[in-house]
Symmetry: D2
Subunit: 206 residues, 4 copies
């Protein structure tokens, strides 16, 4: 395979990118001068060098000095946060979205994906073993918030996790919660589904 086809193949694996757009990316790199592709190579190489995975929440973060002790991200290293709450999110980008919203002050755990309905090997789709380890270590933990996408796969992932954790922590008083349903910004009443409307009424604010 020549290098145009090879790079097209790699870009085709990027989320949301088909073979046609992947090829446009390759031609875009070709059309730029040599320093652009050098910059790209350097940035990809630095990514693996500078970024490490948090030993606690499993998110990726910039870790400039690798030598010093435990690899904790800034959130997990912050002991002023509320240790009674752990929010489970599918991906790094979801953690960032919740953190940006400013409402939550507990800790996180990044599952690394979702468990689709009918998935035969759910334990390969999310970090369920790491999650069980994390929970067993967190002594003050009282509430696990299942922050899933509001769709069928999200609900299925929540069900799977609850089932796995319930059997493991039967004795422990561990509460599970899910994110509240209601009107997302931009939604019109006419197009909202019954569950959304029901919850929007239930969670009305004065």
């Amino acid at each position: 395979m020549n290098s145009i086809d090879k790079l097209t193949e790699i870009f085709s694996k990027f989320p949301g990118i088909g073979p046609r757009q992947a090829k446009r990316f390759v031609y875009y790199i070709l059309s730029r001068n040599g320093s652009f592709s050098s910059e790209l190579v350097t940035a990809v190489e630095n990514l693996k060098k500078e970024i490490t995975q948090c030993a606690e929440c499993q998110r990726f973060f910039v870790y400039p000095e690798r030598s010093r002790g435990a690899k904790l991200c800034s959130i997990c290293a912050d002991d002023t946060r509320d240790s009674s709450m752990l929010m489970l999110v599918p991906r790094d980008i979801d953690l960032e979205a919740v953190e940006r919203s400013g409402g939550y002050k507990g800790y996180y755990f990044v599952l690394g994906g979702v468990v689709p309905i009918l998935e035969k090997e759910p334990e390969k789709k999310i970090r369920i073993n790491k999650l069980q380890e994390t929970i067993s270590k967190r002594k003050n933990l009282k509430e696990v918030i299942l922050a899933m996408n509001a769709n069928a796969d999200g609900e299925h992932t929540a069900d799977y996790i609850k089932e796995q954790l319930s059997t493991a922590y039967q004795g422990k008083a561990l509460a599970f919660s899910i994110l509240g349903r209601g009107l997302s910004t931009g939604i019109e009443l006419e197009y909202a589904d019954p569950e959304t409307l029901k919850n929007a009424f239930l969670h009305r604010t004065k």
Copy 2:
């Protein structure tokens, strides 16, 4: 103007219909046999005959026997509902959506529209006078739920109504509430805005 152009003009006023689609409607009627257009004419004529506007909530409803007393729709005529709550909705179709969701058991008032931002004559856009009348008559009323679309015009309409009603009912203990924000069905965390995420966390359910 000939009748093709005239009818095209009328259909162009229908919500979401441009001149091109309006013309397709006209040609569709022409392509059907005569009984189709007779059916259409009869249905439009019956609409105005059979339908009346509820004296209370202002929604349109089928009212077979015009002669009998007050014109109340089935919801306003149902005195087992919770008279302490009045939900304000922009349109008939929104009332139907909320009612179908099954969670709300109070009464409604249909505003007949929204007040867009920068609107100079807001009192012509919604039934604000009728609303004030209705509220002054409802002795048990404790909570007015502003069920608006989750967008800028919706928020502006809510602000306008609160302002109008506050000055009128200063003495009365009238609570205002708005529908809860949260994850609408189908929303992914990554694409949810900060306010939605904040409220989804706040309104999490166990």
Copy 3:
């Protein structure tokens, strides 16, 4: 069925309209005052009164004085047009589009639809008998232009018509042509299919 449901059902049959939008149309009519629905009724009634179908090309047109002789539309009545050419179009609206483009000066015939692939009763989908009559009467006719949509159903309709007419007019020297393929306005080379590009090159203009 009440009149809201009845009228919703009728509007649902309009091209491109689903039940939800149909209902919005009904509520729109209700929200307008009485004169709007009267206008609508009058326009629909006038449509059937004023409009007639051209005895030649089968299109619908405004025919103010019904009494006088043959019912011909302005195009078919215009004997300065080129009688050697007959363009077959699926619908009235297609005839209007071609006529507006200004390039064609022959006569038309409106088929009244298309013949979808796998259609079992093609003779019920288009006016094939009327077409055969029309062609047998047109003595100077030399070319039949099959002006179909550039999709699979369009090609199938063209094939069906050619087959039907060929057996009927075997003796007659009747040429068939189809509209030229090439770049439609707005198309980018990258997204054009091979056939379009091939024809765009073949039909290049100097």
Copy 4:
């Protein structure tokens, strides 16, 4: 800037990619194991090594043995093609699309872009000097085919090139042509613009 932000910035420059999707690409790379990013780095490095730009048509192509003589792509090196025709295309990907269509057997020149309307430095947007060199060297050249996208920028680019070449080759008998307009695959008559319909009729095929 850390390496996540840096790589996000680079991916944001890719055609059609915004900052949000660029970040998803970065996290995708992070979520894959180390061999994926090594593969990506190797493919980008090979791209610049293996690919060279054709000295004639300016397209990028795989050139395994750099040492041997003139750097010509397989099309420009093929002397059985028709040297009387030169087709100008905006980008490599357009050349590929035309070549795949199989109808054209002359040579190509890749402009490297388009000249947008109101562009102040058109000579920086396309390889106009290289084009003039190429044309002055091609002794048998009779026709220059301006294969532009069927939009305003495409037309403007064609106008700019014709103007530039006309002054330079006034003596020479050089014909310019543009790709034929007509119905692109998938287009319906009703939605075709007048120019497209006019040309579709003009270029009808028997």
